[in-house]
Amino acid sequence: MNDDTLIELASGAFRERDRRTGRIVPSAAWMDLDADGREALFEATGQSRALEAALDPRGLSATARAVLARIQGA
């Protein structure tokens, strides 16, 4: 996978949870990026969240919806 696809993958809001500790774990794609890729990812993620929030009737990004889903599913 090249940096562009790694960035696209990691810029999504999906994150797995550690089954033992319950902690939200870093994206494997983030792990595979170098420092420049991670900087680019930060910008791409912010833009994606802004896009999602702007399109959502409640103004919620995918991050906010993922957090709410965890709260409501807990």
Partner: protein, 184 residues
């Protein structure tokens, strides 16, 4: 100044919808506050973990009269979550910690005009990128892209490339309307 503490009593009482309204306004600023950690931790994972802790701690937060008490508590929680994660990964984060500025945390306001423009540009996308980006948006961070790609009968790489292309086309369309989609 918008004071999100008006939502605090409902959030503290367990009203997830009120927390959703708080998240919509608070998330962009909290995310920006993690800028200095971008190369050291997965800021998306840290932010989600921090926001879950904010929900858990909200019933114990008392407004101090200065406004946005929960937002300021959230800023500390998110920063500490980032520092913990950086240490867990064996990184030293003093410089990033110093860069965090509580005053830089601002409240995002909804923009109906921007939403209309984005919707128009989204509708104008070619069918495949539009469909795949729509799947990603609908999944709301609850489904891995591998699963979405399988549902779309695409290879993961193809799926991700189509999403990237859709976003680029969307950005170009918005630029044509004089809008740059920066992280708000």
């Amino acid at each position: 100044m918008t004071d999100l503490d008006e939502l605090l009593p409902a959030i503290a009482a367990g009203d997830a919808e009120a927390f959703g309204r708080w998240l919509a306004a608070a998330e962009p600023g909290l995310r920006r506050s993690l800028r200095g950690f971008a190369t050291q931790v997965d800021t998306e994972a840290v932010l989600q973990e921090g926001l879950l802790r904010v929900w858990q701690i909200a019933p114990r937060v008392t407004p101090d009269g200065k406004g946005n008490s929960l937002l300021r508590v959230a800023h500390r929680i998110v920063r500490n979550a980032a520092l913990d994660e950086a240490r867990r990964m064996g990184n030293r984060m003093e410089s990033a910690a110093e860069e965090l500025d509580p005053e830089a945390i601002t409240v995002a306001e909804p923009d109906p005009w921007l939403r209309e423009l984005i919707e128009a540009c989204f509708e104008a996308l070619p069918p495949t990128p539009k469909k795949l980006l729509g799947m990603r948006l609908e999944a709301s961070g609850g489904v891995h892209d591998k699963v979405l790609a399988r549902r779309a009968k695409k290879k993961l790489n193809t799926f991700l490339q189509a999403i990237t292309r859709a976003k680029k086309l969307l950005a170009r369309c918005l630029e044509g309307k004089g809008v740059s989609l920066e992280a708000s």
